[in-house]
Symmetry: C2
Subunit: 212 residues, 2 copies
DNA sequence: CCTACCGATCGGTAGG
DNA sequence: CCTACCGATCGGTAGG
């Protein structure tokens, strides 16, 4: 089984071009959301104005509202789609018959791949969730709490099965997710390291901290 | 030598109470900067208004300008003070006669301690630098580039001296700094783990990825 | 999808 | 340190 097995359904979630062919309206909305994600990442949600966004899209600010409901709604869509991707991934994996160390490796690979291939969306989820309004804010933080708990549970299992060193699961989980987040650095850099090299080396460094 | 040796000069840089006793004006400015750092962290620089800040300080918005020049200037002061702390730390250490692995351990401890004891300032430096205006923006990113290069160099030395595994220094540096950043999680949590426990376990997890 | 426009709020200043 | 206020810009709406 290759590490990519778990990622097969993600391309369908990405379905930008599909949507474009099938529903022109949805496509324009997707286009707007993509530009919004890029600007939210570059300038932050609060510092991005609807007029800036409209200019990037190529229409007047007022016209945006034919496609989206509000600035907040765009943030919600960007974040909860990405959160769903993450939830689907870990739930598919949980009941799978592979050992805990391999599960963690696959999770690291999944997150690195998300961070590299869907940089804007992933970055916005991680850095701009604070600007969600209620009840979305609580919804998100709850989902995140559940997610990281699942990850800690996998590490706990690994320690009990003697597959892993007796590290503090909380610290390992935190370091893994944070290290992936740190790849924003690489994204801003001259990219002398290839995505594959990056992924493999990150896996190897982090797994070294876990493996017996 | 205890890991804290390198931190002795930091308390003098923190000198909030000293300034309070000596120069009342400077003290009020410090008070404002501290409130600003907290709000910039909680809501982001752009979403923090001078009126919000004024209310937290207990004066009218216009009165803030008797103590500070502008909203931007506050961000600059918060960020460059913290950046200076980091630079002082690594420069003091560079020419020191300890091995590379110990240097990295001390750097991890330094960053964890900064993240825990000066959460607002550290967080603002890491997350809000993007809102600096030129020439401060370039100044900051340059300082950061130099800093992480120094850290990579230490890891490179460690590998050449056979103290460390042949990891990719870039990845190790990135994971270390990102893991510390991830402690914002802990800061928002119920804090069932003590700062010391946190520091020691983070050191041990990350050093495991490096140590032969 | 546009023009025209709304009330609210922004960072900051004048003058005392 | 305050009152009073500035021009600019914000997210969003009406109406076509």
């Amino acid at each position: 089984m290759t590490p990519l097995t778990y990622l097969t359904d993600i391309t369908s979630l990405l379905s930008l071009s599909m949507a474009k062919a099938q529903r022109p309206k949805a496509s324009k909305k997707e286009f707007i959301l993509q530009k919004a994600a890029t600007m939210f990442r570059e300038k932050g949600f609060s510092a991005t104005s609807m007029r800036d966004l409209a200019e990037a899209v190529g229409i007047e600010a007022a016209s945006l509202y034919n496609h989206i409901q509000s600035k907040s709604e765009m943030l919600q869509e960007i974040i909860f789609r990405m959160a769903n991707n993450c939830n689907v991934q870990i739930e598919n994996m949980e009941n799978d018959d592979i050992n805990s160390l391999k599960k963690i490796e696959l999770l690291i690979r999944f997150h690195v791949q998300m961070m590299l291939s869907r940089f804007d969306d992933y970055y916005v989820m991680i850095n701009e969730w604070i600007h969600l309004s209620e009840p979305y804010l609580t919804n998100f933080t709850t989902q995140r709490r559940v997610y990281v708990q699942k990850m800690e549970n996998i590490i706990n299992d690994g320690i009990r099965n003697k597959e892993m060193k007796p590290v503090m699961p909380y610290i390992a989980m935190l370091s893994i997710l944070s290290s992936v987040r740190g790849l924003e650095f690489w994204h801003r850099s001259t990219k002398k390291i290839s995505p594959t090299e990056l992924e493999d080396n990150m896996v190897s460094f982090l797994i070294n901290g876990l493996k017996k």
